[in-house]
């Protein structure tokens, strides 16, 4: 058996170390668990519930759309106008152009009394915070929302104009600010808002948030301004009127 010279020996050893290292890394990578699902039974249950709710909502939506399709198909000759009117009404309702009434909650935002007593400066409500509140409400299933009687729709603008928070041009200077939100399940909206972190965010801004328990018949006004749609125009009518 020939003897390795010293340099060769060390070369082989270094390579063995590298190979061993690679082996160990690969071994460890394969052994590491694949993103453990460590939710407990309750969390799983609630996520199942969420998914089920989503499913039933989607199913309801499908049924509604199928109905609509049927309406179009069946009444194409007789009730075409009726179907169109119905769609128009529905779209108007979805766009927030009609008054709605239903179960919902009333949120009242007022300056914190303690802060006033302490003489802390009170700044007006921040539009960002308000927007977040609206997002939160939408997230928890609110169907329509109004702020101080101004309906919040998709193109509602909430911003500071000269240091004054405004919603669609209406000032939000007078407190308390009343936010109405209605939802199919007002109780769940109430419960979720009650524990929402956003309330603490308002507290940081020296604002107090009161959430009323669910009100049975909450009326949310229609959007008052004119809807301005830029970059959209009716397509040219087809003379033959084929469908």
């Amino acid at each position: 058996m020939n003897r390795m010279n010293k340099q060769t020996k060390w070369g082989v050893t270094v390579i063995s170390v590298i190979a061993g290292f690679m082996l160990a890394v690969q071994f460890q990578t394969m052994r590491s668990p694949k993103l453990k699902d460590n939710r407990d039974a309750w969390e799983l249950r609630s996520s199942i519930l969420d998914e089920q709710q989503k499913q039933s909502k989607i199913l309801a939506e499908t049924t509604r759309l199928e109905h609509q399709l049927e309406n179009y198909d069946v009444k194409q000759n007789t009730g075409k106008e009726q179907a169109l009117k119905q769609t128009l009404a529905e779209l108007k309702r979805e766009a927030g152009l009609t008054e709605t009434a239903g179960g919902g909650i009333l949120i009242r935002i007022s300056p914190l009394k303690e802060a006033e007593l302490l003489g802390e400066d009170f700044h007006s409500i921040s539009p960002d915070l308000l927007r977040r509140l609206i997002n939160e409400l939408n997230m928890y299933g609110a169907d329509s929302i109004s702020i101080n009687g101004q309906r919040v729709i998709n193109n509602t603008v909430i911003r500071d104009i000269n240091g004054e928070p405004k919603i669609d041009g209406y000032s939000l200077k007078n407190y308390p600010i009343e936010i109405k939100a209605d939802a199919e399940d007002a109780q769940s909206l109430y419960d979720r808002m009650k524990v929402s972190e956003i309330i603490e965010q308002f507290f940081v801004d020296n604002l107090n948030v009161e959430i009323s328990s669910p009100i049975k018949n909450l009326v949310i006004p229609a959007y008052k301004n004119k809807l301005e749609i830029d970059g959209m125009e009716p397509s040219e009518q087809d003379e033959k009127g084929d469908s």
Partner: protein
């Protein structure tokens, strides 16, 4: 002879101690590289026992095989063909062959001079 084995153990120990994990999508490449490395090591051992050992061949073979295997796997992923199987096959066959040769050489040595090795 024992130094490389000791090196291997040190490498495994280091790897386990440092707790390095690579992302799952690269583990394919590493697995094939490990196979290439093992193949080269065993091949080197065989060559050494057959007195054919050349350090340059060994060291270059080690890195070249690893790179080739990984790039083959990479190409396979991008072509949608499991090309890494080719490397697995080639290295696997060679591993077995080399180990068989090593076994034979060692057996022959032991049977020639049993009193010396025992």
């Amino acid at each position: 002879m024992w130094l490389p084995i000791f090196g291997l153990i040190v490498g495994v120990f280091l790897g386990l101690m440092t707790d390095i994990r690579i992302p799952a999508e690269y583990s394919n490449y590493l697995s094939i590289a490990v196979l290439a490395a093992l193949d080269t090591l065993i091949g080197g051992m065989r060559a050494y026992l057959q007195n054919l050992y050349d350090e340059r061949v060994f060291v270059s073979g080690f890195f070249f095989n690893i790179i080739l295997a990984a790039s083959l796997a990479f190409l396979g992923v991008h072509l949608g063909v499991d090309l890494y199987l080719a490397a697995v096959f080639a290295f696997g066959v060679r591993l077995f062959q080399n180990i068989a040769v090593i076994r034979r050489i060692l057996l022959a040595k032991w049977s020639k001079s049993p009193e010396k090795s025992l």
